[in-house]
């Protein structure tokens, strides 16, 4: 598809739904303005795109339908097939316009055949009665039976055909590629036949499903994953770019999500690290805390051993290796002095202690990042509560201080900023776990620290009583915009380094 046009048109529509980001953009622009004065003259006057942002466009259900119709018409004009058939061809080609046109010009018959389209335009499918007919599905027969078959000749009674289509559409959610019910037949039920056979009550569902497959088939379109949201987002970021770009998009419904993996916004961590991290947390988190406090590993087979009781003579349940809990040395070298281990310097013990320390170290390293990640996740949940309380406070504030609704908006803005910043902080910790140490990591951690401090400062202000809050408006506004600014700085820095490949990921971590 002509993605260039579409990407360019993004700027204008972005304004409509990025309202909350607007003030943030202006804020940041004001600070940066002197730097590139003169550069940006010929660029968009609208808030400049940050380094971490990507172009995208939100489409409503009607627009998706229009887009689809437009493409069908375009291709139909080129290949000279009616729109009905063109639609089938396009769906079959998974909406790859160029490839379809090319292969159609090249080997027309083959393309038509593989899409289940009949070549001859006469004998168009219709409902008829047939002599000597028995339906293979219901085994009913008789001259009066209404029957239907497509070009392939697999004839069934109309009742069965209808039931079949209904079960495909209603139960299996199929629409674009329903096959003929005939055994082993690959012919796709075309839209003319469907029009003839699909009952009124299923038509809406059928069209909904067609639109659904359209978006699913397009690489540059994704459904907004928010529950009950019917919008789709268009974005040009390709699958292969996901190691260098984190494509966060915002739907018209307000939901921020990653175009790459459809998860909630996970800036600044790239998709593959997010996936890795979540898998790791799933595997480790339950036990990690407890393990680090109460157990050691058998120095021989590395299975985890729990110490229960005072005796230092340990026998590994798995490999039967006997060792001393205190020094990790082989038990047989202990003689009779087991009750007071004094063999800390022995070779076998010190090697085992090294190995133990290493694995412990890696666990501790993980826990360091995990605890901070989990803490921000937890706090983000608390922030949701705050958000609800905020509304109440706003109402109270209005009545107690004669402030207008607009004037108390700062509370809501602050709480939204808090949520977004915590979300980002959470992922900075998952990200940092995978970072190899270099200068950039230090800068990253400085940025992280600055944002974290800003966030905790702002968070504290919410604990103030309602009558105090009115007087804190200016301070709160300052802190809110400072938080947003710190977040943008961190995200821009990280995005730029990620793009240029300067950020190194620890291999196999």
């Amino acid at each position: 598809m002509d993605s260039d046009d579409e990407i360019n048109s993004v700027q204008s529509s972005e304004d409509d739904f990025m309202d909350d980001e607007d003030s943030l953009g202006e804020d940041f622009d004001a600070v940066e303005e002197p730097d590139d004065f003169g550069f940006s003259q010929d660029k968009d006057i609208k808030p400049r795109k940050q380094a971490y942002e990507v172009d995208f466009k939100v489409w409503g259900p009607g627009q998706i339908q229009d887009q689809q119709d437009k493409q069908v018409e375009e291709v139909s004009a080129v290949i000279g097939q009616p729109t009905e058939s063109t639609a089938i061809l396009l769906r079959h080609a998974r909406w790859n316009k160029e490839r379809l046109i090319e292969s159609y010009m090249d080997k027309r018959d083959e393309v038509l055949e593989s899409s289940g389209l009949s070549e001859d335009k006469e004998g168009s499918a219709s409902i008829t009665k047939a002599d000597d007919f028995m339906c293979d599905i219901c085994c009913e027969d008789g001259k009066d039976l209404d029957t239907f078959a497509m070009k392939c000749g697999h004839r069934f009674c109309v009742n069965c055909y209808r039931t079949y289509l209904a079960s495909k559409i209603r139960d299996e959610g199929e629409a674009a590629r329903i096959k003929c019910p005939g055994e082993g037949c690959e012919r796709i039920v075309d839209s003319k036949s469907l029009k003839l056979l699909v009952t009124e009550d299923l038509k809406d569902r059928y069209h909904e499903l067609l639109t659904r497959t359209y978006v699913d088939d397009m690489n540059n379109l994704k459904w907004c994953p928010a529950p009950d949201c019917t919008y789709a987002v268009e974005c040009g970021v390709k699958q292969k770019d996901l190691t260098k770009i984190v494509p966060t998009v915002t739907c018209s419904c307000g939901h921020h999500f990653c175009f790459g993996c459809s998860l909630n916004d996970h800036q600044p961590a790239p998709c593959m690290l997010v996936k890795k991290w979540m898998k790791k947390c799933e595997d480790d988190s339950e036990t990690a805390n407890w393990i680090s406090a109460n157990t050691k590993e058998c120095p021989k087979c590395h299975s985890t051993i729990e110490k229960n009781g005072g005796c230092n003579h340990m026998t590994c349940r798995k490999c039967r290796h006997e060792f001393c809990w205190m020094c990790m040395g082989v038990w047989s070298e202990h003689g009779t002095s087991w009750y007071n281990c004094n063999r800390y310097e022995e070779k076998s013990g010190s090697d085992a202690r090294d190995a133990q320390a290493k694995s412990r170290q890696s666990l501790e390293r993980y826990l360091h990042y995990y605890n901070r990640y989990a803490n921000h996740e937890q706090s983000a949940k608390l922030d949701k509560d705050i958000y609800l309380k905020t509304e109440k406070k706003m109402t109270q504030l209005q009545s107690s201080s004669n402030m207008s609704w607009i004037e108390v908006q700062f509370l809501q803005e602050a709480s939204q900023a808090l949520q977004q910043c915590r979300q980002t902080l959470k992922w900075t910790y998952a990200f940092a776990y995978y970072l190899a140490r270099n200068n950039l990591t230090e800068i990253f951690e400085d940025n992280q620290k600055d944002l974290e401090m800003a966030v905790e400062n702002l968070s504290e202000m919410f604990e103030k009583s309602t009558d105090q809050l009115a007087g804190l408006k200016v301070e709160m506004l300052d802190k809110t915009s400072y938080c947003k600014r710190r977040r943008i700085i961190l995200l821009n820095d990280t995005a730029e380094n990620l793009k240029s490949g300067m950020i190194l990921i620890i291999p196999n971590s």
């Binding site: 697999h154 079960s167 082993g184």
Partner: protein
């Protein structure tokens, strides 16, 4: 609910013209439930074995495929521990024009041609790929151990 004509006809034909090496008998009290026996195809590791299966025709049969499962333990890459079968015609390639008879024939064919590249039982498929000879021997052992004719 009265039994649909389709099921009555299929059952009649299964009884009148049984498929060689396969039997399917409906329960008297539930005509949608069949006891199935399949003989292992010759020249396969399942040769000489008689495998019991259960087959059930759901309410929306034949719009949805029959539910079918091995009751006899069998060592096969496309059949799992619970006897469930990985076969395309039982899933995405089901057509309402297919019949019990054709499905049972497909299952018999699957015994003759195991496909470790589309496995349901991953560990078995792995064995099959790494040491086919040994896997076939195991399948033989299981056949004589669990599928001996009564």
């Amino acid at each position: 609910m009265a039994l649909p004509k389709r099921i009555i006809k299929e059952t009649e034909r299964l009884m009148a013209e049984p498929v060689p090496g396969i039997s399917a008998v409906p329960h008297e009290d539930n005509l949608r439930y069949f006891d199935v026996k399949i003989h292992g195809p010759s020249q396969s590791p399942y040769e000489g074995g008689v495998f019991k299966l259960e087959l059930f025709l759901p309410d929306d049969y034949p719009m949805t495929p029959p539910k079918i499962r091995f009751l006899t333990k069998i060592y096969h890459p496309n059949i799992d521990k619970l006897g469930r079968i990985c076969l395309d015609v039982l899933k995405s390639n089901w057509s309402p024009a297919l019949q019990i008879r054709t499905i049972l024939l497909s299952i018999q064919a699957l015994l003759g041609a195991p496909n470790p590249d589309d496995p349901l039982a991953n560990d078995v498929a792995q064995d099959w790929k790494t040491d086919e000879k040994a896997a076939i021997q195991t399948a033989r052992d299981w056949t004589s151990k669990y599928a001996a004719p009564e």
